[in-house]
Symmetry: C2
DNA sequence: GTGAAAGCGCTAACAT
DNA sequence: ATGTTAGCGCTTTCAC
């Protein structure tokens, strides 16, 4: 292994000079810099990460905690993770991948060991047990040397109480409102919402409730009738749910779907029942772009901006690490793309 | 931050004793051990990762390179990544998440900096440019101090030339054979294969070709007629492909699908055409379990054993790191699960 | 603009 | 069974 000292010797300068050439933290004469860079290349030198971390007490690593559960929105999670990794690299950071298997202990371990300089948490629950460890100001009763040893962190998702936390998420309330508005403009008066599986609501992940809130509020304002039904994924569950919906509200002409695994079954069932999309019924989906464009009907949808969320999270974190403050909560504005699944409501006799 | 020295002082022992209590590398009297452990808990001590890495020249980190492309098998990738992360933790390793954006440079950077002790590469291409850096024996022409400074590594996926490499993958050849056998047993004589998008074949990722090889070989042995058609995802592409298939081979009664985004369209189209599954045609899918069980027809399928692959990769790597040799190539045996999409071939007039 | 030198917190000989 | 000590490779004062 090539060390900094070897580079220094080879270039005929001191170790500190090499270090400063690398960090740019003090001015170096052009000739010296060139000699050093030359030696670095020739010897194939790579600074040792451990030594760096020890001497500088910064690891240049950001920890990313992803959910173990692989039952929901997996492609979105993956896309976020990849965006985070790529974004982090542009700022010189690497990503340490943590699952939430260890729970809060992982936070302590990483914080305590200095393995990472900061962390990003995905899939935060409303009352997440990891949050107390991350709130700025630290745990109550901790009043050590005055040094704030909290881990700078950014959450992807919105917990119930965001005080002292930085969060990035899609504005699901606005998303719900947007879907309702679109259908209202097309003349639909009876709207059914196919929601996530009941388990998702019970898990209190927040986004489902916020979407529903946005849907309901806007529906009330626009005087639309809204029926919400959670739904397990799959064909059979969707069939049962759909039957109930048309039973209770036979005049339903608009659907909002927030459940990836209900989308294709819904479309198939509507086809089977002879209800044409979008002539008889309109469907708006809240889902990844890819799902919307690859469905059997190209879906009007609000996309989950995975890349953007990942990028934002990194930007926020880097800002924090650089001492610059950052916003508490960033809610990304939803964008609705009109495709082939929505059209004017059919005229009623 | 609490240091080892502070723990030592608090427990009234020397630094090395604390270190050895932690590592278990030499015997410690019960009383001393207890005092030390007590102090560790009381002070909330966490060993500093950087210092550890520097002193021991082992980071206890495994790098995992995942593909940037998020167009294929994303849930599988994610599941593997999570399995790798979880598996690594049980051996005391953390996972560093690398994308293949940097290409081979990422390998050099991680190897050179000692950031990771080893690496796992996913989605390896047949002639991957990162492979030369990973082959045991190192790059030709490198004859330094006799120390093998290669990064121990495991590939998930199979390149063209596996010499000097450790690989884990599903046995796709056997998978293809298994699908054909199943259909043959049910009496199907004309089989159509819906393959991945042409781009996948062109990218030379290997698994698609190996599956096809297994399909063809076994079909020939069993004297079945086999028609293979690559297919872009989505409804329209599938419709065109299906039309061509029935045009060329009207007697086709068996389908093998190796393309997630073609599955649901295929089922919908068959329904539309009045071909009942499994009464008129049978469908075998090569896809994740979840897709098979959530499709509009519960699919007979060969699963992609994501978790198993992740776990295996870690085991192999840990074996290597522990100095124990490991197998060159581990091919996991495919398992076919019979569900509702396959049945006896219809009797021909 | 450059060098010298003191650690950073830990591990692993080498002692006893 | 425990203590002493010399680094690991780098960053960063302090000195010129």
């Amino acid at each position: 292994m090539v060390t900094l000292a070897e580079v220094a010797q080879h270039a005929g300068v001191s170790a500190s000079t090499v270090s400063y050439v690398l960090s740019g933290k003090r001015s170096i004469s052009a000739t010296t810099r060139q000699r050093v860079e030359e030696s670095i290349r020739k010897l194939g030198y790579h600074p040792n990460a451990g030594a760096r971390a020890l001497a500088s007490s910064r690891s240049n690593i950001i920890a990313l905690m992803i959910p173990l559960r692989t039952d929901m929105y997996v492609p979105v999670m993956m896309e976020i993770a990849i965006a985070v990794a790529a974004g982090a690299r542009t700022h010189g950071y690497d990503i340490l991948l943590l699952t939430d298997e260890e729970g809060p202990d992982a936070v302590r371990r990483v914080t305590g060991s200095g393995l990472a300089d900061a962390m990003i948490l995905m899939d935060v629950e409303l009352d997440d047990e990891r949050l107390p460890l991350l709130r700025e100001g630290g745990s109550p009763g901790r009043a050590r040397s005055g040094v704030a040893d909290d881990q700078p962190s950014v959450l992807i998702g919105l917990p119930a109480d965001t005080t002292g936390l930085t969060c990035v998420d899609l504005d699901f309330r606005a998303t719900g409102a947007l879907c309702v508005e679109h259908l209202a403009e097309l003349g639909h008066r009876d709207i059914a919402v196919i929601g996530e599986a009941p388990a998702v609501y019970e898990r209190h992940t927040g986004f489902a409730e916020r979407t529903l809130d946005g849907l309901r509020t806007r529906a009330r304002e626009l005087k639309l009738r809204l029926l919400h039904r959670p739904c397990e994924g799959g064909y059979d569950a969707m069939a049962a749910t759909l039957a109930r919906i048309f039973d209770e509200r036979p005049d339903t002409t608009g659907f909002v779907v927030q459940n990836e695994s209900a989308i294709e079954p819904l479309l198939a069932l509507l086809r089977q029942q002879g209800r044409a999309v979008p002539e008889d019924v309109s469907v708006v989906a809240i889902c990844p772009e890819q799902v919307a464009t690859q469905a059997s009907v190209r879906l009007t949808s609000v996309a989950l901006p995975a890349q953007e969320m990942g990028r934002h999270a990194v930007e926020q974190l880097v800002a924090k690490l650089g001492g610059r403050g950052s916003d508490e909560v960033v809610l990304l504005a939803p964008e609705l793309t009109v495709r082939a699944s929505t059209g004017p409501a059919p005229v009623r006799p």
